[in-house]
Amino acid sequence: MTQIINLSRRSFLKGLGLASGGLVLACSQPTKSLASQLLTDAKTFNPNLFIQLKSNGDLILIAARSEMGQGVRTSLTSIIADEMEADWQRVSVKQATGDVKYGNQNTDGSRSIRTFFDSMRKMGATARAMLITAAAKTWSVPELECKAENHFVLHPSSGKKLGYGELVAKAALLDVPVEAPLKNSKDFKYIGKDLPSIDVQDYVTGKAKFGLDIRLPNMVFAAIARCPVTFGTVKSFKSETTMEVPGVLQVIEIPRVDRPFGPLGGVVVIATNTWAAFQGKELLEIEWNYGKNKSYNSAPYMKTITEHSQKEAVVMLNNGSVADAFAKAEKVIEASYQLPHLVHAPMEVPNATADFKGTLCTVYAPLQDPQTARTEVAINLGIKEENVTVNVTFLGGGFGRKSKPDFAVEAAMISKKINKPVQVVWTREDDIQHSYYHSVSAQYLKGSLKGGKVTAWLQRSTFPSIASTFIKGKDHGMAGEFDMGLINNPYAIENIRCENGQAEAHVRIGWLRSVSNIYHAFASNVFADELAIAAKKDPLQFRLELIGADRVIPSNSEFQIDTKRLKNVLNIATKNANWGKSLPKGYGMGLAVHYSFYTYVASVIEVSVINGKLKVLNIQTALDCGRVANRNTVLSQFEGAAIFGLSLSFYGKITAKDGAIEQGNFDDYKMVRMFETPNINVEIVDSEATATGVGEPGVPVIAPALVNAIYQATGKRYRSLPLADFNLV
């Protein structure tokens, strides 16, 4: 339950970085996350949303969520401002430091709006009610005769009017009303509308400060040479040539820190500028102890996990009897799907600036999870958490990489060793070769048809688990991964069995935008298409029948899949794509539909394959994320997800040879560019349902829709990615 507190008279404000005075409200809102399932140190839940209305009328929101392009600073603010009847021009955002007082700050799992929407409304409504009460008392009139409008409280019958700033002092002394009335959604001014990003001007003028843009007096720069093989260590090194580089100051060694977010360790080059540090790093002569992960080679590994997916594994879900259904079927189809590791490659590489002084440490970094950074830094330095201040800069992309604060710990360790403020900068090669990788995966699917209907579905998913990063030797998946498109299959099939095969991890595995939904949605959407072809049915009609009657699928999740909403997005996307229109030879259209982060998404992709070369022409996406906070942000996220999905479909592939990652930069880990960008159209379903995820759910549908479209264009079925492996792009 959301509880709202008036903090105006408490000394608490200094800790929030707010000047005292004005009306300050806080509310408590518990959150859950994938990371908190894994991290044993439970966080305490305190008030975690704060707003301050100052006597000059300025409204400040403390954003405890990190901004990485998903527009959260704007969306959260717009919700409060709308309910509060605030003037958008008077609203500003202050970024919170990493602190448990904000509750869980880990910005991942597409859940900022989902978890905060209702609380933000209540906060805004409470502030508005208190301002109205303050005005009514001032005028000695009944509250019901007053109304709030655009930063003023009005008394229409007398024509009296007071600005919010003028009412602050009085409102601050009031008790919080038990129940403040919410606005009628038809009166929303900002919620669900197209609001410009609150930060857009800083972005287009180069003023926005990302982690790499932090500059402190007397600061030095550091680059780190890490072992090419994960968890390998330094045997010995020579730094004479490095020391000759003008600007290089010092070369030191830092150890591997054996914690999930612990630095890998390595040889650190400290210099007066980034370039000298990079250059010095290249010139180091290092002998490594590679360790056991040197055995990691991607081709044989894929063969092993594929074999594991083709034999009986750990049962995660078993409804009916797939064996009986296969025995009685008219047709049985089998397919194996193989997807490689991926890496986030945010445009801003991992980096952090740390300033250790005595017993205090201040960190500035692009972090999705500043609290975990704070905890890890404190543990590493052996100082108290309250002596660590973690400032969150803008994130130049995150995609899950910046939830893992190993780079912040590196900076803190180095600052302590050299007793100077230091900025650790990863090269692009460091980013691609020492990440927390999206799982490589092999899946085996077997389905049966009888009378044109699917009677059984067996899906075995095998992938090195994110859990392996937290629990050594863990070689099976965990609930959070199965819930992403494996065991919550929305199809009306009597006999379903899902299994999870064994897979050891030889690199650090982590979550990447959309996580396990990427491989599960790929296999299930391509396989459903293969079944449609086998049944000689139109893939759309077949899929609608497979989803089946309108119903809510029971589960122990806080949200249940509503098949009506799922079919609705599929119908909209196919209608917008003009599904069924006649296409020239070499052209094709494919569809995919997936539910993730509680949001319903369908994409239809139109392609041409001429002379063996693929061209993506059109992507039509339809989504239902419940109530929309900022329409513009939702559209942006799904337009961007289409490109993210195309990049992984075309080019995304991380491979290891003798334990070392073979890719290093945007020449061998390519991204889709403007010339490859198709027409992209996004339609949002109008809905009053609870707001759900937006940042991630647009990605998983893209690859399978594309592969299904290529099949229609060419008759060829691609069961692995990237398509560059087949010279299609």
Partner: protein, 160 residues
Amino acid sequence: MFTKSISKFLMMVLTINNKNYDIEATTDMPLLWAIRDLVGLTGTKYGCGKGLCGACTVWLDGEPIRSCQVPVLVAIGKNITTIESLETTFSHLQKAWEDLNVPQCGYCQPGQLMSAAALLKHNPNPSDEAINNAMSGNICRCGTYKRIKQAIKMAAINAK
């Protein structure tokens, strides 16, 4: 990639956005790092260090270059233009970027804007193909290409 013949620090003068800056750098230092670390203008971004992503795009005598690939020596005596002064000549382009809410994370956008403004300087009414050619050297991991293209067209119309 690197040889052992490393040059020494030399005093140089860089002219950035019509202002002179005294710096001390090796002649082979990429212009990007001189701008960011020595001069302290951080709007120009590091993305790849190999001229592959365009995040470091600035103008040298009015022409777009990848500053991570150009040694600082080459820029001596020339005019360097960075995102920090784009508003003096291309505020309508920045306005189009704002109106269409182009940026997501915003990190690559200074480079995108410098490439787009250079295109419009030479070709005030670019076709889709011309836009693709001029902009395909700039990567946006958030995937804002659709809006970048729209914003360039909007700016072209608004400049008339």
